[in-house]
Amino acid sequence: MVTQLVEPTEKLVYQRPDSLAELYTHYCPGCTHGTAHRLVAEVLDELRLQNDTILVASVGCSVFSYKYFDVDAAEAAHGRACAMATGIKRVHPDKIVFTYQGDGDLASIGLAETMHAAIRGENITVIFINNAIYGMTGGQMAPTTLPGQETTSSPFGRDVRLTGNPIHVAELLAAIPGTAYSVRRSMHDARHVLQAKKAIQTAFTVQQQGLGFSIVELLSSCPTNWKMTPNEALSWVRDNMLPVYPLGDYKVPESLQSTKRGKRD
């Protein structure tokens, strides 16, 4: 007689989200663009939005995000993602439309389109990757570059007398009445990654509820252009970016504030 002991059962705790395509990404090892992709995809899965979502990718390292997400997607011109997303959302008000933009794309060349989308209260979600640098073009100064930070186009460190101070996008957009949700999060460790995910979820919920423009600014790393290992780069985010870019909720719709508090109390 043969008896077989069935293994103690196990449950699946985490797996790659369906909203991510199977494709292997071109991102450098340890680049948090990948993390941000994963978080957005997890949220789309959890809110069951994959089939009803349209992504507008931007120009920057994330230029191919349109094929990394398994959703309908467009690739906008540099800086124009919010304008393109406006065109799409106005035609499909019942679909979820989000842009995925870097800091050169959103805060430099595309600032006007971003601001005006917020001013119109365009009911779209913006995932904003702040890595303090132009990644794709090889590490030039961005509007988000820290004071004194050396880049390939500020070799002596960013001189704020000549180039101004870093732009605070989450705070700036929070001041606009059309903005419903504007927060800054970081992805430098697991705890913060989870907080970032929560914010992304809230941002999409804001859009689902038709409350207006939502943006999640994500402090992100660029190990390649910062010339660091991926783990050093995350420490650099913590030690150097966090003091300049305080994490926080700069604007949260009242309806969502109360539910959040209600849960916590």
């Binding site: 690739e75 124009r80 304008a83 393109m84 406006t86 065109g87």
Partner: protein, 369 residues
């Protein structure tokens, strides 16, 4: 339907509405603002999309978005605004989405003025954005034609998934004329390539990137094949009194209309002149013009434009070296009178195919050759 008295800008706007334009985005600029204003009420009345954008840059990218989402989308502007749109135009062609743009041309360069001009010929026909392509460019000469070509623009944009311009100028935009509007069409269904949320089908992507040289070359070859097909099938022009003409004036848009009057007046004097009026500036009626030149009957061509001779170069390419091609142009927003064109033509006839120095160097005419 019957004819009604219509103003150019409004007629174009209403024609677009009736052709099933579902989304309009634009930024005010004279002399096309009435078009935008008409859309601002009509589109909302019909529950369609109207949005005054923050700039022409935003407008064209909104059009790009709406077109990608499967709507018949358009914008309208005037010369400096079109210049601002160039990058977006290129993306639209590069990702093969249909879009219609109306350019009511004004005088340049720079801020120039708001008077009628044809100074955008090169900007539209030759350099509407970076890369190897031409948009289809339709040039009406009267309001009925502006209406018909606006409707055609949407159809051509859909058939070829490309960019179509309707080019007018302030004269046509402001002019009132009896014309008949088309019946209201239903909005067309969304094409299967459009971004609508993927649902149960595989994802749709609208993009103009081809990172590898091979793939981009392959795309360009496909694009060129499409352009060749358009060039073969979509040439449009008006041939007026050309059967026995010995002298031919070549002019488009408003100037074509003025030149027609000149031709009629000279015909009454028994002079064998005719008018060749390109309606599609791209594809340019090159073959037709070339055949005309090769007929052996034509003693000279006179190109007239409200610019320094932009279409002139295309005419010369088509005509070749055997028949002289002369030019008479006005710039800066000055509209030529029929008499000016008549004088130039008459001089050409008297000079047996040559223009006398007085015209060539006259303060009005812009000399060439």
């Amino acid at each position: 339907m019957s004819k009604e008295l219509l103003k150019g800008n409004i007629a174009i706007a209403e024609a677009a509405v009736r052709a099933g334009c579902e989304a309009y985005f634009g930024y005010p600029i004279t002399p096309q603002t009435e078009l935008l204003e008409h859309m601002s009420s009509r589109m909302l009345e019909l529950g369609r999309v109207f949005l005054q954008s923050e700039s022409e840059v935003a407008a064209i990218n909104m059009v790009y978005g709406a077109a990608s989402a499967g709507a018949r989308a358009m914008t309208s502007s005037s010369s400096p605004g079109i210049s601002l749109m160039q990058e977006g135009l290129s993306y639209i062609v590069g990702s093969e989405v249909p879009a219609v743009i109306v350019d009511v041309v004004r005088g340049g360069p720079g801020l120039g003025n708001i008077q009628p001009s044809q100074g955008d010929y090169n900007q539209l026909v030759k350099s509407a954005g970076h890369g190897d392509y031409h948009p289809i460019v339709l040039a009406p000469a009267n309001i009925q034609e502006a209406i018909d070509l606006t409707v055609l623009a949407f159809d051509l944009a859909d058939v070829y998934r490309t960019l179509v311009f309707v080019v007018a100028d302030g004269t046509l935009g402001q002019m009132m004329e009896p014309a008949e509007l088309p019946p209201m069409r239903a909005l067309r269904p969304r094409p299967e390539w459009a971004l609508t949320g993927k649902g149960e089908r595989p994802q749709n992507i609208i993009s103009s990137i081809y990172l590898s040289a091979d793939l981009l070359e392959a795309f360009n070859q496909k694009l060129q094949a499409k352009l060749a097909l358009i060039a073969q099938r979509e040439v449009r022009y008006e041939a007026y009194q050309l059967e026995d003409a010995e002298y031919v004036v070549v002019a488009f848009g408003t100037v074509g209309r003025i030149a027609k009057t000149a031709v009629q007046n000279l015909r009454r004097q028994g002079i064998a002149v005719g008018l060749f009026r390109p309606i599609t500036l791209w594809p340019f009626p090159e073959k037709q013009l070339s055949e005309l030149a090769d007929s052996g009957r034509i003693k000279a061509f006179l190109v007239t434009e409200m610019n320094a001779g932009q279409m002139l170069q295309d005419v010369r390419l088509a005509v070749g070296r055997d028949v002289p091609v002369h030019f008479y142009g006005r710039m800066g927003g000055v509209v030529p009178m029929p008499e000016e064109i008549e004088t130039a033509l008459a001089e050409l006839v008297n000079g047996n195919g040559r223009l006398p120095k007085t015209i060539l160097e006259g303060k009005n005419g812009h000399p060439t050759r």
